[in-house]
Amino acid sequence: MTDRGTRGEVRLVDARLHLLSRQVLDSDGEPVRTVDDLELAGPDGGEARAGQEAHVSAILVGPALALRLFGGRAPTSRLPHIAWEDVGHLGTAIELTVPSDGLDADWVEHWLRDRLVGRIPGGRRDPEAGS
């Protein structure tokens, strides 16, 4: 884990209150997904264990929502991840330091863009550019 110039201060937050169900924006301010769950990891990046140092390792999106809503379990490694290291700011949204194009968590958007919406005439036209 890289030390990104922490100033030794911490802000206490509650996961459900401040992180879960918050909007995730990429480095351009584009919405990516909503936080559906958070993955915890131990100090060495391995499995988090009760009572031992643990930290948030990733934001989980997509199927993680269905799991929380309807129960059931899936191997966490198969769920779409956004690494916590990519998080830059926490405000009324969670802002990433990377563009969404590189995130596997956003594959549905990319698929629809390339296969459907981008192919309809005008799909790539900037609506603000005037007509």
């Binding site: 997904r33 559906d36 929502l65 009324t92 629809l112 919406v117 799909g123 790539r124």
Partner: protein
């Protein structure tokens, strides 16, 4: 002129809430059956929607978060999901009714079989969603919808006994020949229509589309204070026209041509033409509002990128959602159900879902982490609390009243 355009968002939002196709019918039915005795509900509804729309607009301007993002964030995935299902269903039913309404209005103007207009109307709605800039869309649909002011003109031309209209309105009481349950059913329906949640979804998302910041709080206030009272005024004018012409004649409203009857009687073909254009524009505007709202709610719940200010390819899931919604609406219309009856019921059902939308708005408008210095003041909170109570009462009463009265009949 620029001032006028600055309030287009509020006007278009209010048109969708007060004079969309379902409300046109409800207002005329109410006027023809209850005279002016339900005007007080419109007043209560206007104040309520002003209150919550201004909060939602302020939250969007200050925090950058639109209403359904707030709902998901505060209620969590489960309760917000329930709200999403209910809101999406109401949006879809209303969109269906609006597209049906466009075809009815076009039928009135052209006497071409309404069903032939369905694909045309749906395609037109989609093309506007796909290509037209948000500001153009709200200006054209909003301002053209104001042609419905023809109903108010008609009312003056009819030269009614104003004292009698006032006596019907204050103090309010159900006409003797009507059952009180039917009276209260329509009261809940009018209140539900005034406060339909898609108005705040659309208004707050529109604020983000227009990139409001905390500098635009005055614009927010202006939009709310002009738009919704204007919508309420139009809805009262429609009811009053019906109360003056249709009530004494004992005509029960069941079609669009009966609604415009007073206009034709008072102002002839010219005014009728103006009002029909107004109906097409208002209905079209409401179709855009509900179609956009279906995209906004879905995208904001799941955190997708959304908005007309983005290229469609940069908000692919948002645009696909709207395409699916329009297609579903066409599919429902093709089964030849009566779309107007469907929305009227959906408005009553929407009353049940109201608290799930308005509680989170009120709560976040008080959260300093979101709002900084722009948190609600005392008066706002006191009024908000009162309206929450009204909303809950309406929500509880809605379904029993609907069952007891057989949906108002």
């Amino acid at each position: 002129m620029r001032k006028m355009l600055a309030v287009a968002l509020g006007v278009l939002t209010a048109i969708g809430g007060f004079v969309d196709i379902g409300d046109l019918v409800t207002n005329a039915v109410v006027g023809s059956r209850f005279g002016m005795s339900l005007v007080w509900v419109v007043v209560v509804g206007v104040v309520g929607i002003c209150l919550f729309a201004s909060m939602a607009g302020r939250v969007a301007a200050v925090s950058g978060r639109a209403t359904f993002e707030i709902i998901r964030e505060r209620l969590g995935p489960r309760a917000a999901g329930a709200n999403l299902v209910a809101s999406f269903a109401i949006n879809l039913l209303t969109l269906t009714a609006e597209i049906g309404g466009i075809t009815l209005a076009l039928h009135l103007a052209s006497s071409v079989e309404p069903r032939l207009w369905i694909p045309v109307a749906a395609l037109a709605v989609w093309l506007v969603l796909w290509r037209v800039k948000f500001q153009v869309l709200e200006n054209v649909a909003g301002l053209m919808g104001l042609l419905l002011v023809g109903f108010a003109v008609a009312l003056f031309l009819l030269g009614p006994d104003w004292g009698e209209l006032l006596r019907q309105a204050v103090p309010p009481s159900a006409p003797g020949n009507e059952h009180p349950a039917a009276y209260w059913y329509y009261a809940v329906a009018l209140f539900g229509a005034a406060m339909t949640p898609y108005e705040v979804f659309f208004f707050s998302s529109g604020a983000v589309e227009e990139r409001w910041t905390s500098k635009d709080l005055a614009t927010n206030r202006l939009n709310v204070m002009v738009g919704f009272p204007l919508g309420g005024l139009l809805s009262v004018a429609i009811a009053a026209c019906a109360a003056v012409v249709l009530l004494p004649a004992g005509i029960e409203v069941s079609s669009l041509s009966q609604i415009v009857l007073p206009v034709a009687q008072a102002g002839g073909v010219l005014l009728l033409a103006v009002v029909i254009v107004g109906i097409v524009a208002a209905t079209f505007g409401a179709a855009l509002e509900t179609a956009l709202s279906s995209g906004y709610t879905m995208a904001q719940y799941l955190g997708w990128s959304w908005g007309k200010f983005r290229r469609p390819a940069r908000a692919a899931r948002f645009h696909v959602t709207m395409i699916v919604a329009v297609l579903l609406a066409v599919g429902i219309l093709m089964t030849s159900v009566d779309p107007i009856a469907v929305t009227e019921m959906s408005v009553v059902f929407s009353a049940v879902a109201l608290p799930l939308t308005y509680v989170p708005i009120l709560v976040v408008a008080n959260d300093p982490e979101y709002m900084g210095e722009h948190v609600n003041g005392r008066v706002m909170n006191a009024l908000g609390g009162v309206y929450l109570l009204i909303v809950v009462v309406a929500a509880v009463a809605a379904v029993p009243l609907m069952i007891a009265t057989g949906a108002g009949s």
